[in-house]
């Protein structure tokens, strides 16, 4: 197992990490991917898991399968707890690993912005587990409402409040309306779709604030037409079980409260050694390196990357391009050449409002809306799906849905009754892995 090749450790197998690995497939290095999950999460389709349209497995691609054809890379399922940047060692529960180069691509997690009760009673929307919990809450509340004859309580059970008017909030709102209209209307003969309320609470003056005003207006109008009630310039003061209180004192009774409002960067200790900015994001150099540590990179949602003085948004195309850029820089460093600055080419972004409807903003200048934007989104995202088989499954299902408006995924599994054993920590004596350069 001894090797003289330089070791590159990549922490996190999201869009940035996987692209980096693919671009380094021919590199003469020993590459190790560490992730706490054994699968890549295809985040753009999370809202479809949350609304019962695709199974969790459809958007969770196993790393080991991805790596089969990439011979220079190994996978370790572990949680990185600490990095010693001076000793160049990564600490996990199971083992310590030394590195020659390190790439932090650890993404972000939900941030409840200090709102009282939000962490306890609102449902976040960042991970697959979050999405499954939302789906279960939605379907479970319909089951409860169908048995409930108390009008007040029934109204509460049939109200869904979404906090945050970014792409995730918009996509969830539209998709929940579709879930209600297409499927639940048929399944619950004693619930009228008019009893269901979807409320979108947004702190800003318009939805999708990083899109042109025209597209924001279009989005609000479309959602309102579908029956979504929007609250603009509203901040949440407090979340309680089944209740949300806005800062103007408004009390909304909602048995499902979904939180899409904040994110913060998510990376190992020690945080105080890392220069950070807003949302805890890691400040990087123009080459995407950690200042003072030219062998350490940070990319994707964990990093604060600026272009022309403006921070990037933290969307998938940015992460992918950063993965490519760091692969390029690492290959240069391996050949003793200096790394080069990252330059983002803005191909555009898109958000879905509903089946056949969306908004897109291409190359930072071309606005699209309606069916064309939806189709654009579909093609882009199918293209990015990491596995060919998954791509076809997802496409097939989307087409089937498009034709039949059918959603099968409303099974309520009893997850608390799944006997699970945590990954066991092994004696570190057995498993120290040193780099052997």
């Amino acid at each position: 197992m001894l090797s003289r090749k330089p070791r590159i450790i990549i922490v996190g197998g999201g869009f940035a990490g996987l692209r980096l690995i693919r671009k380094l497939a021919q590199a003469n290095a020993e590459i190790i991917l560490i992730d706490r999950h054994n699968y890549h999460t295809f985040v753009p389709l999370l809202y479809q898991v949350a609304t019962g349209f695709v199974t969790p497995e459809t958007i969770a691609y196993p790393f080991r399968k991805y790596l089969r054809s990439i011979k220079n890379t190994r996978f370790i399922q572990a949680e990185v707890q600490k990095v010693n940047f001076d000793a160049k060692v990564v600490n996990t529960k199971a083992m310590d690993l030394s590195y020659d180069y390190l790439v932090l691509a650890t993404g972000s997690s939900t941030r409840f912005l200090g709102v009282d009760g939000a962490a306890d009673y609102a449902l976040p929307m960042r991970t697959l587990e979050d999405a499954i919990a939302i789906k279960d809450r939605l379907i479970g509340n319909f089951e409860r409402a169908s048995l409930c004859q108390d009008i007040e309580r029934r109204r509460q059970l049939l109200t869904i409040a979404i906090v945050g008017g970014g792409a995730t909030g918009v996509e969830l709102a539209g998709s929940i309306i579709e879930l209600v209209r297409d499927t639940l209307a048929q399944d619950y003969p004693n619930i009228s779709t008019r009893e269901v309320r979807v409320i979108l609470i947004h702190s800003g003056t318009r939805l999708l604030a990083d899109y042109p005003q025209d597209l924001s207006d279009y989005t609000s109008k479309q959602l309102r037409r579908k029956g979504v009630k929007t609250h603009f310039q509203s901040r949440v003061r407090k979340v309680m079980p089944g209740e949300i209180i806005l800062d103007d004192g408004t009390v909304l009774e909602a048995a499902a409260i979904i939180w899409t409002a904040g994110v913060e960067a998510d990376y190992p200790q020690p945080k105080n050694q890392i220069p950070t900015a807003k949302k805890d994001k890691i400040c990087v150099t123009a080459n995407l390196q950690l200042p003072g540590y030219p062998e350490v990179y940070a990319i994707g949602d964990v990093a604060l990357v600026k272009q022309n003085g403006e921070p990037l948004l933290g969307i998938a195309p940015e992460a992918l391009q950063q993965g490519t850029a760091v692969a390029h820089n690492l290959r240069r460093q391996l050949r003793e050449m200096p790394p080069q600055p990252f330059k983002y080419f803005n191909k555009g972004k898109a958000a879905i409002i509903a089946r056949n409807n969306g908004v897109a903003y291409l190359f930072g200048k071309i606005p699209l809306k309606g069916f064309a934007a939806w189709l654009m989104w579909l093609v882009i995202h199918l293209y990015y799906l990491p596995g060919i088989a998954n791509r076809f499954v997802a496409l097939g299902r989307r087409l089937r849905d498009y034709l039949t408006k059918e959603r099968d995924l409303r099974q309520l599994f009893d997850y608390q009754n799944i006997k699970q054993s945590k990954l066991i920590s092994m004696s570190k004596n057995n498993s120290v892995m040193a780099s052997k350069k």
Copy 2:
């Protein structure tokens, strides 16, 4: 909502319950299906969930979807806690329901036969949650083994012990070997398939005891050829974490211990009012009625049904035929005619050993083995799958697997971190539902 129709309550939506509902679709009655889950579990494919071949959703068919086309039947998700046979009332947490006719089709659950530690440390295999837990344990142990350099510990992590040599044990053993050979061999470059051990522990002298000797012998030979180690006439004395002790004192180190050895009937209180036999099964009359309660039936795995003095086995075809028979009897009772005795027509049974390989015993006299038996199993089970769409999805996946030997389902989700809210019990005042005859 008032109705003068007689009310039939069916508790349990397994094979027996669903068949009954379908056969009563035209009956002039108010029918209520009560189940603790909101989906039907297609039990014969559970072992394929446990070995990562189909998603849990594939074999979990939502009741409400099934009932869309059946206008006289409503679904209530609830756990039946008690039945008052004299007052003709079913008690659930959320509400009490009176009935004119009641059918108990509540199935069975795992029975650990009083073996010390089995309930705590062995993984049962009756529900979807059980199957998910097994899959997670298998894949999780491979992840652990790939990090483990202690030879003893690694051997333990790579040993799977299955208790019980009935159809479930056989199918699991064969399917686990395939999981190892086809998929894990490619995914874990530092684990050799020769390190993996699958042990089948059986108390009897031969596997599949209710099949002819010839088919049992064939099954043992096939499993042994695939590398399964069989222990016959072995009883388990004790189960400990990662260890199983047989009654001859043999200690087997196995990080995955799967329990398929015992079942017991599973039905509401009060059990002491119900005449029961071996395995707690409900003794029924020849007409499948509860003795002394002509308006109450028990069918499927919960009932002890005899034919020619011999008890039936508790397999799906029996449950389906009992559903049909009770539908017939209820229709007769609704027209003031006496019910008729149930007669089982033995079409046969089949068990899978591996891809392309199985055993079947048709009409109680024709033995089949190998590919023909496997194909028979496949056709029969696809035919029984309750939804057309599911049927095609399942068939498509099986064909894909048959061609590519590919299994994608090895994602380890963190089920303990899914925020779940239990079905809320509502004030009974709001929700007493009386029958209005």
